[in-house]
Symmetry: C2
């Protein structure tokens, strides 16, 4: 019996392995066909990983492709985005797309691994930029462990070049530290020759030094692949990385396996396909997740008041952010917070204390932080990442391409942070974030503006960025005022204003001071607090443009791409509009520097005195040009 | 004799060690005094590394502080920028600044580790942002090995938090691969307790797995420090990392060594100083470099022609860049090129072939690439870094703060790259780079514009960025035309133009096509090729604004922060200017996508048809509003 059973098992095993080899051949040929059909892409990159993905599909991945929205499913990230053809070949094999659709990718409007297909395809994020997939995988695995509390697995297919990206090592660092046994990374090592072997040995040692289980295999041996995947599943205390030695064109003689062919579409797809006759109709019924329970949800009371402050109180907007986020966490169980070892500075500390289970300390690894947030939001969580905003911009913009819903709060970005100086200041944040597709860019000037904006950020799709102030400002906004993304606040103004100042953040106070001084000279000043820089309140600006003789914008940011240009943009197509003067940090030597906040604002020319000077100089010029601004008439008298 | 000699040596050694301990105490006390004097900073961060820096100053660093411009000198990078007070205490000890000056830092206009002091101080770069110093150190060490060919050493002082930054591991990866024996990194491990010890062991293993000599010592034991520095100097085939266990407030009882005190200025500096009475007048005559030979210079003919193309030729600007850079390399021996494993795509291949000694393959580690370039330029080399521009933005902006002279050439940034799709496209490059202090942003539209711009980039201080096109464009610019940073090109136009189109890069061709069509409708069109987006040719734009009824800008970039806003900016203070309509990629679902270049330009609304449509729609509106554009009168007839 035992003997017979053993024999039966052996026969069955052999049949399974034979099927997987045929499946790999089908994936390989379909990859060539898909690439050739659109005369694009890199069939080589797909071909090397065919066995790796065949074995994954047939027996390890628990992902019912036709129902990818099942919250218990495994996640597969194709970090090696150039192998898109293989990905679509897998979808065909799993019955998610037809052969005709396979040959139709990528046509315009359907991205390779694009997010527009997310509802029908199980891609969680857009990939292709090196070193992104693994850190996002860490985020998904973290969500599985600590948020969803489900045993789904996260699989990441990486290329070997990605091993040089620092973000990859941030992920190794974090994944090892957290012991993410639900994460398996398969590295397709298709480099050639001796150097490849040396690299492989080195990478094994490195991964182990970061606390990972590391396994080296022949990436075309379906038996070895199967064993490695089993080992990965068995080790629940450590993440696993499988380094698979592969050849780009395993078994295809017409293609020499040399570096020069990397990245080039095949010259002779027909020859390649002819050389590898294969079944084209193999189907795999990918295992459905065998989990019955639902994802964990954090219990909250479902309500609770957002904080509010009395008029005249002095408080930094970063503190208001911290309190608002903690309060929002009491209302909503889906809010999570991430921080890069500076929760005291960014003020995510109150959230960490109130909701320790939903707080993630990501240490000084900003890319891993943003990627982890991207992974968590793919599971439906609502992450707020707090940081000194100056790092990880590339990951933020790539998250936008993945249509991720992320909230980033940057502290210590402004010149007004004072003595800390130079390396902290990030006065290009408005410009760089405005240029992220679908983003919102916010910069509240006082504490009462913060809670409504934070609450709205939680609901808003896409990337929402808020710059929080380190220094205290006086609360001028009534807690019941209508503060909203896309809005603005009329700080002072009436129907007969002469001029307008548009400010945000710390410059709102300067604008008020300047307005008071100008009114003493008889100039009536409208002051707009433009706390929402994108989208901007175009109506308020157009109204000011119609009614006042000049608009001065003033911002704690470089001249380029910030508030000033956002205002110009809003008024660009107006045939008649007053001159717009912009006060902003310019290319001044030694700027940004270290000093008292007031010194710095003064040196940058964005303080009250600079506003007054700009107004006077403009009004004088205009008066000299014999135009009639009544205030100036008096002044000239 | 031998015995006596041994005794004498032992006595001498003991005296040296005693002196170093006193020196450390002086550095520690001076750090507290400097921090207290300006009520700022982190004396704790300085105090832990006092012995480490005392031993470095007295016997290992070869840097004549009063003459920091000696090209043979060692380099010291304070990556742990928060320890600025210790750095200035060292300068005092070395005789570079007085005690009064020590207590005056950092006052406004004098940065902590700022670059404005570079002529008098030996700081090569501004630091303080985590994970930057080590990659820059790799660049300096590379320059020492392969460019200057001098045995100077590079020392980097890091904090332990930086070990989580991916850029640190990019540097470990590259430094190990290159076997940079001239590089020593000292990590001040001032974390507390058991976790610290575990981390230390882990970091040792990791560093060794990356091919480094790794040594762990007690960072307050001057003897052990001395031995470690000697070991570092002896191992010429490997870089060395020294993990030094330290206590933040070694020996100062009034300060508890607990995490809560990290980052806070001392509450009681006087108490701390009183507890540690020390000499304040110890001086170290830091060893001058004992090298006699001059830095290596590459021999070149000193001239040679830049490439030029016939009008009507079809060539991609990236290819023109590659050829221009290689040619410039023949003229100038100080030009160096760096690439991230894609020299075929960025076209830095011709340079690599012509000047292999000055070409650096940095693999897929874009931050390390930019940091290496920053290190090389600090030694007077003229680096051009070529990449898919989408990574390393944070390192570029920090290089600007260091007043580094860097040239970055980004390829595959535009939508028009076509099928490669989504993750490659970086159509926020203009916005993000314009907002870098002192930057230039260039985007030539044809091959003949490239060589003069590349030559000017080499001479230009600050950050210069050029976006190069992947796809071929037709050469319209005569090779002898005046093409310059800050210039523009009048593609077509006369004194009686009706409207203006401002374009750059691939949209110039679209603008020409649109202009031809509009002229058939009787609308005279001026087309400006605005290849220099920052600085922009304000004169040409003002002239167009005066003479034409509408300006349409069209760019292969998001709407925010690019060419359109640069044009608005240039005309912002003009009291009378025509409406400015902007065509750019907007927040369209599935944008950027994958498709044929023409499909993508059409979908983004930045092709010839879109320009024609925008003009017609504007002119019709204006005509309906009963203004008289003569062309329209005809059209309406």
């Amino acid at each position: 019996m035992t003997f017979t059973g053993g024999l039966e098992n052996a026969v069955e095993d052999a049949a399974v392995m034979l099927f997987r080899r045929q499946l790999a051949q089908q994936l390989r040929v379909d990859s060539i066909r898909a690439s050739a059909a659109v005369r694009l892409g890199h069939p080589m990159y797909s071909m090397s990983a065919a066995e790796l993905m065949a074995v994954l599909l047939d027996g390890h991945l628990r992902l019912d492709f036709p129902y990818p929205c099942d919250p218990r499913r495994d996640h597969l990230i194709f970090s090696k985005g150039r192998a898109w053809a293989l990905y679509y070949a897998m979808l065909k094999t799993a019955g998610a797309i037809s052969d005709e659709e396979l040959l139709g990718f990528p046509k315009f409007g359907r991205w390779p691994l694009g997010h527009s297909l997310q509802c029908t395809l199980p891609a969680d994020v857009a990939t292709g930029s090196m070193g992104q997939g693994l850190p996002i995988g860490v985020g998904l695995a973290l969500a599985g462990r600590r948020l969803d509390r489900l045993p789904y697995r996260v699989w990441v297919l990486c290329g070997d070049s990605e091993m040089a990206e620092g973000s990859t090592w941030e992920a190794f660092c974090y994944g090892g530290r957290e012991g993410l046994g639900n994460l398996t990374v398969v590295v397709d090592v298709n480099r050639l020759g001796q150097a490849g072997e040396i690299m492989l040995g080195r990478d094994l040692r490195r991964a182990r030094a970061f606390g990972w289980q590391a396994i080296a295999i022949d990436g075309h041996d379906v038996d070895a692949i199967d064993r490695a995947y089993r080992e990965a599943a068995t080790n629940t205390g450590q993440p696993t990385v499988i380094f698979a030695r592969t050849l780009m064109s395993h078994g295809v003689k017409t293609v020499r396996d040399r570096l020069g062919r990397r990245g080039r579409a095949s010259d002779d797809p027909k020859g390649m396909i002819a050389e590898r006759p294969s079944e084209r109709r193999l189907r795999v019924h990918v295992v459905r997740p065998g989990i019955v329970r639902r994802p964990h949800r954090f219990e909250v009371c479902g309500q609770g008041n957002l904080p509010r402050w009395d008029l005249g109180a002095e408080i930094a907007t970063r503190e208001a952010y911290g309190k608002a986020l903690a309060a929002l966490g009491h209302r909503r169980g889906d809010i999570v917070a991430l921080d890069g070892e500076i929760p005291g500075a960014t003020c995510s500390e109150p959230f960490a204390q109130a909701h320790p289970d939903r707080y993630f300390e990501m240490f000084m690894a900003e890319r891993q932080m943003i990627a982890a947030a991207a992974g968590m939001q793919a599971r439906g969580w609502v992450p707020f990442a707090s940081m000194f905003f100056r790092r990880a911009y590339d990951f933020v913009r790539l998250a936008a391409i993945s249509k991720a819903n992320l909230r980033v709060v940057g502290c210590y970005a402004d010149l007004a942070i004072g003595e800390d100086g130079t390396s902290r200041v990030a006065v290009e944040d408005f410009a760089s974030l405005r240029a992220v597709a679908g983003s919102a860019v916010l910069h509240p000037s006082d504490a009462n503006q913060v809670p409504p904006l934070v609450a709205q950020m939680a609901d808003r799709p896409g990337i929402s960025y808020m710059r929080a102030l380190r220094s205290k400002t006086i609360v001028h906004t009534h807690p019941d005022e209508d503060i909203r993304i896309g809005g603005s606040r009329l700080v002072r103004g009436s129907d007969d204003d002469d001029v307008t100042v548009v400010a945000c953040g710390v410059t709102v106070g300067e604008a008020e001071e300047a307005a008071a001084e100008l009114e003493r000279d008889g100039v009536r000043v409208r002051v707009i607090d433009c706390y929402s820089i994108k989208p901007i309140d175009a109506d308020a600006l157009r109204s000011a443009a119609r009614r006042t003789a000049v608009i001065v914008t003033v911002e704690d940011h470089w001249l380029e791409g910030g508030l000033g240009e956002a205002v110009l943009s809003a008024l660009a197509d107006q045939p008649h509009r007053p001159p717009i003067l912009r006060l902003a940090a310019r290319d001044i030597p030694d700027m940004p520097g270290s000093g008292q906040p007031a010194e710095l604002l003064h040196a940058a020319g964005i303080d009250a005195a600079a506003i007054v000077r700009a107004m006077h100089s403009h009004l004088t010029t205009t008066a000299n040009a014999a135009t009639s601004v009544s205030a100036l008439d008096e002044k000239a008298a």
